[in-house]
Symmetry: C2
Subunit: 253 residues, 2 copies
DNA sequence: CGGCTATTTGAGTCTAGTCAAAGCCTGTGG
DNA sequence: CCACAGGCTTTGACTAGACTCAAATAGCCG
């Protein structure tokens, strides 16, 4: 887990802050998630406790059961968070992308594993140091509470999906959600019906939706036959009938 | 939704605070959850923005889709939180009891409905007013963040259950979890293997575990035949082999 | 182009769901 | 105190949606 920066901390925060000064301001995630809460000037203090790092595809940067000494903020790329049962069954509890904060849902130890789906860049924060920042910028704590609340809402939606939706509804719900996520991040002038880029495999989709890869494949085939989606290569899917997709996902009609 | 206290607020917080003065200090939930974060003196400020209320069995006190203008804290009793699909399928996303805080997982509107399983008492907080309290007692905000983090961990465990566990494992996991919840709340001298009191019906259990009432019943019958539990009346279950129950719930062996 | 892996499709099985009936508590009223 | 009505729970028989195993196909990368 190599850091791009190796910083030996000897003095108070400002030593590191100077070295990191421009990093946060120029960060790709500057205006999403946590970092958007601070002004450019204040951001320097956050930079002081941030450690930039990257991970290759397939690399694990949080391991379930390890002491939860850090928080993470994704600057670029997508990762999966998952929990395993002893016999190998796996549940992916979420995908995190640019701007997402990881590690809130942890007590003494991490309750999940995090693995990069593609090459990613992220910031690592020492929990103790970040608590110090809280004192100076209460707005960060406020923002973290908002982030946690939002994640709870997402988690509750996912419980409804996993507990009560059919395979077809699950796949439709995922595609609809991923579509809105993509359009929210896209440039305003982007084509509304452009093909989605799915960084995850069918296997990962299955582990996220609580079904098998074969069932994912069959559900996608059904949606394709109904003209709801068009499947280019395996990781590119275009939504042809967004309204129909949303209707299926909400079990309407 | 009748309030036990009808308070007309004319001046600043201290007017209500005086009327509520003893309420929080004597509250059954005084030393659990949110309220335990404050000292007796500081608690008066919290009392100033709290409205006590009660709900009868079956009464709904939060409706999915309504504007989320309040937070709630359960002082006594148990309630279920659930989400419905248009065709009637229901997913219970959690049970809340004495000391639990409700309403963090809400953005503009509530994403779930809350209904009392038995007669309950609770405190209602105006979100705007509580935000004011945050400024004075940052520790409350810190505590709320802890609460939200813990709920996220619980939610992630439940996602694993709903996505990947068998019916038997789900029921075992629930019983094991309810047991530890009960022993955590019980007096230290309580019998360790006393029968559990389950305030929810088989139907509610099924909606929580993502299965049907028949499947719940069959799973309980299996556990009974294996000597793991003993079922008294429908709402009283004794755990005879806690270790075996835990093993089944974790899919170990 | 060829090998490798991921995905799709097919056939059969199984877990859990559905429908139905019987049993059992609970609470009420005579 | 007991009988009875009603709802909740259990059990049984059958069905269905998703899983497993297996084979064919399609992308992807060198």
């Amino acid at each position: 887990m190599p850091d791009d920066l190796t910083i030996v901390r000897r003095g108070p925060i400002n030593v590191a802050a100077e070295m990191n000064a421009g990093l946060c301001v120029k960060c790709e995630a500057r205006h999403v998630g946590l970092c958007d809460a601070l002004g450019d000037d204040d951001l320097h203090f956050l930079a002081g406790v941030a450690r930039r790092a990257s991970a290759a595809r397939g690399q694990i940067f949080i391991t379930e059961g390890d002491p939860a000494k850090q928080f993470f903020n994704i600057n670029h790329g997508t990762a999966k968070l998952y929990k395993d049962l002893p016999d190998g069954r796996r549940q992916i509890i979420g995908f995190v992308s640019t701007g997402d904060f990881v590690g809130l849902a942890a007590e003494k130890i991490f309750g999940f594993t995090a693995e990069a789906l593609e090459p990613i860049q992220y910031c690592r924060f020492d929990r103790t140091e970040l608590r110090g920042v809280f004192g100076r910028f209460p707005i960060i704590e406020r923002r973290l509470l908002d982030v946690a609340s939002h994640e709870l809402v997402i988690a509750q939606e996912q419980m409804l999906l996993l507990g009560r939706k059919t395979a077809l509804e699950r796949v439709a719900t995922f595609l609809d959600g991923w579509r809105s996520r993509a359009t929210a991040c896209a440039a305003p002038n982007a084509a509304p019906n452009a093909a989605l880029d799915l960084p995850m495999s069918r296997s990962e989709l299955a582990d996220y939706l609580g079904i098998t890869i074969e069932t994912v494949s069959r559900a996608l085939a059904t949606l394709r036959k109904q003209g709801v989606v068009s499947i280019g290569s395996d990781h590119r899917i275009a939504i042809l009938k967004p309204a129909r997709l949303a209707a299926i996902s909400q079990a309407a009609e």
